[in-house]
Symmetry: C2
Subunit: 305 residues, 2 copies
């Protein structure tokens, strides 16, 4: 009961392929089945050995699985939950990796049979890449995975899912579902929207040539372009499904930005200096927590003194 | 005449130390003198061999130099220009590395003697680190350096400075001074302000614990914290001295952000999807231009498939 015997991955992109590679890395012997919407993705996943068997439909892929993980954009969860419901094994666990949790719980929950454990989860890890060939086994190492159990979630089933993700390298934490969506809005959703916006602004400035934006991007802009290169479907669904929390954080952001804008207009150097000093401290604690490296500029420039 | 015999570096932080290391890497035999405001910085620079001699004042450091580079925050340029003016050698070139060019030209220009070539410049490269031990020889490799000659700039003196920076690894381009300040506002100044703001918002959210912000930062936020860890004095001076262009770009940014915010509120998925698709293209061209690597997440996670 401590380890799953058959894991079904629905959707075979960055997260699903990394789950498979991380499972294999630690020697989990579970059978892995999977499906994806496009034939090309299914073929690639099979060719890469990410799955033992690939199926054309989610309904087929989940048959016999004791763990089903939905790794599709948030907007696709409801239809898949409805499709797989009649085909789930008694006592199996259904989880997901969606970036939003209340909307996912609402989309999946109503379709789940009584004899199935539905436990939403969210790995706080990723890159700007997508597709079955973008995964890597260490993606979850020392990254946090948040599980947001529902009031009726069965305790042993939750514990089993915690052990699974811990084995893949994650630090696991349980969190209240509404709080999750606020935290995600602060540390992930709003930063992504802002990066998309900044890149859109640069792209739309008539008086600045695109070659200028590209060539001089090392001065700060390129960090935004990495984030803004993330999967458009996934992120559209995130914002549509975490509307309230995102709008709340955006309100705070606009307020702060206007305060800084006012300080620039008025020439209030002390305000700017104090603000910019405060933010350095957070960086220090993130490095100390092992969530980023000390290397300048993410080590893209190798120092050769 | 093609190579400088004596380079004086005023201010010994990230850029100045990288200039010294890049000069030595390509075997330039110029004598390097320098100064910095703090004794600790001066001692470190001397101990690291960044300079052949260090002086307590800029007036002493520039004596005999045929190239003087001001590597100090923009707000400090005027006082230093005034201080060094009487001590500059006839025919020497005075340049700088400030992120803003019109304000720097206004701050330095009036102090410059007639027999000196004053040529503003700006390397589009850097990291979030500061201080004499943060430099590295490859900082300028394949990065762009913008020179904004003044109407009265002497052509051979400009050419000589171009050759100097090209030898350090830079791609050099000449640009009109006002245009430089707009381009810098788009690809560097505004992104920095936005990153500072986002980190400030996360830090100020009462309902989200600081440990949560730190632990889950891998989901997007940490890229902002790197930028927002940049030197507060330098960046205060940038915003105070590139006010008009920054406010213009901020206005555009706020407008775009409100349009995206509205789309989220109204549930306009098509608008979001189209916006997020457009920004992917820019990322591609930045990688093709060699201004960032293809490696996911800046290669912080080494794929081990």
């Amino acid at each position: 009961m401590s380890q799953y015997k058959h894991v079904a991955l629905i959707g075979l992109g960055l997260i699903a392929s990394s789950i498979s590679l991380a499972m294999r890395r630690v020697g989990m012997e579970a059978r892995i089945t999977g499906t994806a919407r496009s034939k090309e993705t299914r073929d690639t996943a099979l060719a890469l050995g990410l799955v033992d068997a690939v199926f054309n439909t989610a309904a087929e892929a989940v048959k016999g699985a004791d763990l089903v993980i939905l790794c599709v954009p948030v907007g696709a969860m409801s239809a898949i939950a409805k499709e797989i419901a009649p085909h789930l094994s008694e006592g199996c666990t259904v989880s997901d990796v969606g970036s939003v949790k209340q909307a996912v719980a609402d989309a999946i929950g109503p379709h789940m049979p009584k004899n199935v454990h539905f436990i939403p989860a969210h790995p706080m890890a990723g890159t700007e890449k997508s597709g079955p060939d973008s995964g890597f086994a260490s993606l979850f190492d020392n990254r946090w995975l948040l599980i947001t159990p529902l009031p009726k979630s069965d305790h042993p089933a939750v514990e089993r899912l915690v052990r699974f993700w811990t084995a893949l390298g994650s630090n696991v934490e349980l969190m209240e579902i509404e709080h999750h969506d606020l935290v995600a809005a602060v540390i992930s959703h709003t930063p992504h929207l802002i990066a998309y916006t900044m890149v859109g602004v640069a792209d739309g400035m008539n008086r600045v040539a695109k070659t200028e934006v590209v060539n001089y991007s090392a001065a700060g802009f390129r960090d935004f372009t990495r984030i803004a290169a993330s999967d458009p479907t996934m992120w559209r669904d995130v914002f549509l499904n975490n509307k309230d929390a995102t709008l709340e954080v955006l309100g705070r952001f606009t307020e702060e930005l206007l305060a800084l804008q006012r300080a620039i207009r008025l020439g209030d150097g002390d305000f700017l200096f104090d603000y910019f000093t405060r933010t350095r401290d957070i960086r220090r604690t993130i490095i100390d927590a092992g969530q980023d490296t000390e290397a300048a500029d993410f080590g893209r420039n190798k120092p050769e003194k």
